[in-house]
């Protein structure tokens, strides 16, 4: 965004949005984080805020194919970006769940579920990027996602199961 620009355009979960930048109640303020915009403006509350400090991965979304922390990105920086949140994974027409979502259910890969959207988005970005990730690569990709219930073991099983099924 250049300084004079008053609007930004984003594509979120396949839908196009145009936002005004400004200080009014209905506008996107320059200090608003992407996680704030997703949750408070677009009501996409599946993206979670836990530390709000870039440490825990709960707010992970996919931006232009890469897993990013939406609490560390200002919305005004996102002009022209394509973003997928947890709400955008299932098939919009049929409602069919993404393979990863199915495998997370099958393997009970969550307990309280608060970190789960972030876990799934980090896994999704890895699977998009890497055809045959090793277990070490899966662990590395998820190492920024904080889970205190220790769903990690079942998450890794779920991701591996998704990989196996994809093959």
């Amino acid at each position: 965004m250049n300084n004079k620009q008053k609007t930004i355009n984003l594509k979120i979960n396949g839908e196009f949005y145009e936002f005004e930048i400004g200080e009014k109640d209905w506008q996107i303020r320059p200090h608003h984080t992407l996680s704030h915009t997703l949750r408070e403006i677009l009501n996409l509350t599946g993206t979670k805020i836990s530390c709000d400090d870039g440490a825990c991965g709960a707010c992970t979304v996919i931006m232009d194919g890469k897993a990013v922390l939406s609490c560390l990105i200002l919305t005004v920086e996102c002009d022209g970006k394509e973003i997928t949140t947890i709400e955008g994974l299932k098939d919009p027409k049929t409602g069919e769940l993404d393979l990863l979502q199915k495998k997370f259910i099958e393997h009970n890969a969550f307990q309280c579920g608060f970190c789960t959207p972030g876990m799934i988005m980090s896994s999704k970005a890895l699977l998009e990027k890497t055809q045959h990730p090793t277990e070490e690569e899966i662990k590395e990709a998820l190492s920024g996602n904080f889970c205190r219930c220790i769903s990690y073991y079942q998450v890794i099983k779920a991701v591996k199961a998704a990989l196996n099924e994809r093959r």
Binding site: T45, C112, F114
Partner: protein
Amino acid sequence: MAEMFSYIGKPIPRKDSKDIVTGEIKYLDDLKFQNLLYGKVLRSPHAHAKIKKVNKEKALNLKGVKAILTWEDIPDFRGGTPRIVRVLDNKVRYVGDAVALVAATSSEIAEEALNLIEVEYEVLPAVFDIDSALKPGAPALYDEYPDNILPGGTIIYGPNCLKGVTRGDVEKGFREADVITEGTFGYENIPNALPPETVGAIALWEEPNKVTLWATTQAPYMDKVTLFHVFNRQLDIRSIGVHCGGSFGTKIMCWQVQSYAILLSMATKRPVKVVFTKEEHMANFTLRLSSRINAKVGMKKDGTLTAISGTWYVDTGYYSFTTQAQVAIGSGELMIMAQCPNWDLKNYVVVTNRNASGSIRGFGGQELKCSFIPLLCLAMEKAGLDPFEVLKKNFVKPQGGYYWRDGNWYNFRGIDFSKAMEEGAKRFGWKEKWKGWLKPTAINGNKHRGIGVGVHGNADIGEDTAEAYVQLNYNKTATLFICAVEHGTGQKTNLAKMVAEVLKIHPDNIRLTPADTLVTPFEFGPVGSRGTYAIGSAAINAAEDARQKLLEFAAPKLGAKPEELDTKDGVIFVKNDPKKSISWRAIGNDRTILGFGRFEPDYTMCNCMMTFVEVEVDVETGKIDIIRIVNTTDVGQVIDPLGLEGQLNACLGSAGIDSAIFEETVLDKRTGHILNANLIDYKWRTTAELPEIENVVLETPFSSHRFHAVGVGEIATSPGPSAILMAVSNAIGRWIYEYPITPDKILKALGKISSNKFDTHSNEAFKAMGR
């Protein structure tokens, strides 16, 4: 496993699973309200101070600020145990204590208003640990308790609440001992259970005295009870539990944030949301108890315990909510693991000027054991005994017993856990690996390996009352009315499975009401491991009652007696002549068949978890890696295998095993500030460093409810930390007593860096007080 079940023990996806993986499930902060205000808390920068004056004027002039409350604006509402903690006071007792509450139209405005409130303090001297709090003449936090010691016992455990353990004759016991060890050991790193979801509440107050409350809570019905007393028994509270983003026992302590939301809603007549930031969550919400024991243990050469005496000092921070309850449970749990005829175990609950400790998974027992087991290790070393054998021998057996929280003695009527322990030892390879005390199992260059074992058991599996209704519907479904929130254990689905098994309809056809005190009967909350037996029994009893009423209703229609009938898949039939049947549709849409179930507490059984660990210590860098963990337990009957697996893997989470190696809350003892109240400086385990975990689960039927199961989830974190201490000591050949064992402690123990002059186990204060 004798009985065959249709749903119990089968891996059936959790009812909330689809909503969890699609992000559709709503946690507190996801709820939307019209006209909502945002509440924030002004917190004290001082550890101990009197509030001389508060000037709210500038803040009130800020556009969007709707209310500011200080202690002068509200009645004398109090909580805590004893009830001495004002919701807002004219004194602050720790860095972060609430000074003022702000409600505004946005959280940014509320935050800005906090900066405009001017507070004048008279700073007082403060105490930051047990030693300084107990020194004669130490500054007192509460006028009511000038020696900084809170009275023992908690009213909810009854008038004879267990306050310590006195039994037999300790002098005689020590005379009979072959070895005696004595010393002071602590678990004082006050780690944080740290669920990912922070802490908060939304309140809507309505004339004249009604409040509806949505909260991050583990126990919505108990919140109603607690707040009723906080607000001087004048408030009619409807408490609604929301899907909970992790609790680990901590979120039964939300009365303060709930009170803030209620007070701000009373002041503004609008719904008000107060949600703590992560920093507030870490610096102003429940930590583990700080525990230190000064004790003496007597043991015979064969590992038989002859006497345990000593004093347990518990630092609860600036106030207690559940600490006396944790002392009661913790003491009983020590008796469960250390069957001994002679006891004299006293305790003191001490207040200090830091953030409060309280309810966390492990609930007193983990803290006490982490302090006590190192002392027991010294006795086992002296007697030359294998710790696995000693822990197995001394864990409660069917002929044994213990005092429990109400002060009564209970003869144990559970199972012998030796079989599970032996199976775990076999899978771990304990016998092959154990080389003796302070001996590594293997050395490879700088890498020294060692093994350790810990054990824990809790008789809370049948604690507190639970109630439920089950309503049968003519569309062949049933509704379970129960005040249970899902906080990660899969409890709600497990309850549905139990009801489904009784009614012989699929769990998909069981619906659960929201946890709403306006709708459901009383339920204490899924604390400890009571979910399976205590809460489960209420649901089972309600389902059985409903089933009985259904059969009585159908009997005349089928020309049979109720006891001659059965029901399956929504059809009632004569057992001897299944062709004679009617559908549940016969109930009609104008009739309600409602069963009621209640569970009365039963403390005669406990669960058990033994944890084996293998660690690798780099003796050059001091870094510790956990290589392998084997958890072993016997649960009677598995309800949900995948959920159970998750609960046991959780030994690494919520201030569990890792509190032995890197988890700690760092308190600056000069200022009282917590230095690592963020998720970068507070260390937590990531997927990059996962040890191998094996969970061994046996199923020996318990005399609990009709499915013979008991819960075990809570205790997963508890046996591990002391096992790590043992394993690391064995790996490096030197005793290590302090949690967490950060690399510097290893290097100091090995004499590779100079040892710290500051002696954290100073006994001066105890000596001065003659204790």
